[in-house]
């Protein structure tokens, strides 16, 4: 009976997040559901509290990275990056795509997939339109790499942050193990894009507009120091979240000094409603885990980080993240794979690359959007789905093969 209630709560929370009645934030359903899970005795209060306390640094880390990305945007970093890409690719669409790949992969790795989706993609779209170039390959490159290029650093994706906390790996070790899989996935995406958009990429791009944006030197320097700070501060006992917060502070000071009112909008960028949602979702997932899901996940997840084990784990994670979105999928799978860093990283390859298959995050969201659009002319989704079907299996295979090679070489499993 308890498992039925727990699963019911999780389905309600995820269903609310997909449908979002009256545009209410996801936390509106998740927080009461978490409270119910505790009141109904599905999760003892102590265990729920421990879960929240353990999750706090991760959620704080996420909030700091979201703020860092917003401030980088406010300093003009994304406008500048797009202008540099436009100049590098002037007149040559393949080179422009290469530059967009480089920018999107770097922004995703350093400032998380949110920055690429929310902040970079619109700038790339506008740049492509201004260059009179066919925008499709470049815009799709941003939305695709936001997922598939988020393997490199713990900060690149919320899923990574969740697994990073459980992995026991250091920041530098995580990046070291994931660098080759990241490059392998990028290489596969490049080949798929070149083939898929071959026709669009033969049409010459117009001449680049003059590079009007001045390089935001201060912001670029702070971002550079922040990235270097992650691996160097950790051995000194400084949590990477604090490094991200320090970077955000350094970027915030000059802006708030000029316009003090901006301090209020910075609080909004911390996205407190989403942070509350993550805490609550984690408690609801814990309720399901305690009543059978952990056993199920453990039975389904391979025990050892062999090549077959890694591949199976990655495909399982990709599948699950397409059914229920990758954040809850990560919360479900991380405990089952936590005994092996290799398997944990394979989970991340799956939950990060996988969402490109349904491109809206999950099958539920995809179906819901189809229902919403059933009375009007819904924009065609065929192209996204075809691109995902081509790239995701190949990216998973390449990423896992690279991970397996790195694990074999480094002796980690």
């Amino acid at each position: 009976m308890q498992i039925v209630i727990a699963v019911g709560l999780l389905v309600a929370v995820l269903g609310f997040a997909v449908a979002r009645p009256a545009g209410l934030p996801e936390a509106v359903a998740a927080v009461p559901a978490a409270a119910l899970a505790v009141l109904a005795g599905l999760v003892p209060l102590g265990a729920a509290w421990r879960d929240v306390v353990e999750l706090a640094p991760t959620v704080g880390f996420l909030a700091a990275v979201l703020l860092l990305a917003h401030l980088a945007d406010a300093h003009g970093v994304f406008r500048y990056a797009a202008a540099v890409a436009a100049r590098a690719g002037a007149g040559r669409p393949v080179r422009l795509l290469g530059a967009v790949f480089a920018v999107a992969a770097s922004v995703t790795a350093v400032l998380s997939l949110d920055a690429t989706v929310v902040l970079l993609t619109p700038v790339v779209f506008a740049t492509a339109a201004r260059l009179e170039v066919r925008a499709r390959p470049h815009v799709y490159a941003c939305t695709h790499l936001a997922n598939s290029a988020s393997l490199l650093l713990p900060v690149s994706n919320l899923t990574n942050l969740l697994a990073f906390a459980a992995s026991g790996l250091g920041f530098a070790a995580f990046a070291g193990l994931m660098a080759l899989p990241w490059l392998a996935v990028l290489a596969v995406e490049w080949v798929v894009f070149r083939l898929f958009f071959a026709a669009d990429l033969t049409v010459p791009a117009g001449p680049a507009p003059p590079l009007s944006a001045r390089p935001p030197r201060y912001a670029l320097a702070v971002l550079g120091l922040t990235v270097l700070g992650f691996p160097f501060a950790e051995p000194l006992g400084v949590h990477p979240a604090l490094v991200a917060a320090a970077g955000a502070l350094l970027l915030a000071v000059p802006r708030v000094r000029r316009v003090p009112k901006e301090a209020v909008s910075l609080l909004r960028e911390l996205d407190p409603a989403f942070c509350a949602f993550v805490f609550a979702l984690s408690v609801v997932v814990l309720a399901v885990r305690r009543h059978g899901l952990d056993a199920l996940a453990a039975a389904w997840t391979p025990a050892r980080a062999t090549f077959a084990g890694l591949l199976l784990t990655a495909f399982l994670a990709a599948l699950l993240s397409n059914v229920i979105n990758n954040v809850p999928a990560t919360l479900v799978l991380v405990p089952a794979a936590a005994h092996s860093p290799g398997l944990l990283l394979a989970v991340l390859i799956g939950v990060n690359v996988g969402p490109n298959l349904t491109y809206v995050g999950s099958l539920a969201t995809l179906l819901w959007r189809q229902i919403l659009h059933r009375h009007d002319a819904a924009p065609s989704t065929r192209e996204f789905l075809a691109l995902g079907a081509l790239s995701v299996p190949a990216c998973l295979l390449a990423g896992v093969a690279a991970l397996w090679a790195v694990l074999e070489m480094s002796g980690v499993s």
């Binding site: 997040a17 934030p25 996801e26 979201l66 669409p93 997939l113 949110d114 989706v117 929310v118 993609t121 619109p122 779209f125 506008a126 339109a129 201004r130 009179e132 170039v133 066919r134 925008a135 499709r136 815009v139 799709y140 941003c142 939305t143 936001a146 997922n147 026709a199 669009d200 033969t202 049409v203 010459p204 791009a205 117009g206 909004r268 996205d271 409603a273 989403f274 949602f277 979105n325 954040v327 969402p355 491109y359 809206v360 995050g361 999950s362 969201t365 959007r369 002319a377 924009p379 065609s380 989704t381 192209e383 996204f384």
Partner: protein, 171 residues
């Protein structure tokens, strides 16, 4: 006489130039441009995958749509200036090949520019949407190269089994 000129990013100059050369003096010229809303919707779809993060920001679909409309207006202004004669404008939304084919049903001429492989003469010089328009248009189509057409020598040699063999022996 109604001459439709299909303008697309990167190749519209050639379409306008062809219209200048080939549209008769009294013809009605219509500059045609298509924006596919699927691309802006794709940006919105990527947001949906974030599970609520970044929702307090302005609507990305609307912003992308506005950017596309600004770019479209600039493209049509530049095309009208290059054409140098009065022309109507037709702005369409949807899949380019379907929209163009439907719009030119009652036209007397449609100007289309090749937009595929420009290194050699052949079927690959048409991207799939352009191929669709050429295959399905109900009106005469004027198909032009953007810039200089490649030489006749770029045509691939015929495959061996298509070469005419020696004449069969008589008797």
């Amino acid at each position: 006489m109604k001459v439709m000129v299909w303008l697309a990013e990167g190749t519209w100059h050639a379409a306008v130039d062809a219209a200048r050369s080939h549209a008769p003096a009294g013809a009605e010229v219509v500059l045609l441009h298509v924006v596919d809303p699927a691309l802006a919707a794709g940006i919105g779809a990527a947001h949906a995958g974030l599970l609520g993060r970044g929702r307090h920001r302005p609507d990305p679909v609307a912003a992308a749509g506005a950017a596309a409309e600004t770019a479209e207006r600039e493209l049509l202004d530049a095309a009208a200036a290059r054409l140098g004669r009065p022309a109507a404008r037709l702005l369409l939304r949807g899949r380019a090949e379907r929209e163009v084919t439907a719009a030119c049903a009652d036209a007397d001429l449609l100007v289309v520019v090749r937009d595929g492989d420009r290194a050699r003469l052949g079927p690959k010089s048409l991207a799939p949407p352009t191929r669709f328009v050429v295959d399905h248009a109900a009106c005469p189509v004027l198909l032009v190269w953007p810039g200089q057409a490649p030489g006749v020598g770029t045509i691939a040699p015929p495959p061996p089994h298509h070469r005419p063999g020696p004449p069969p022996p008589k008797g």
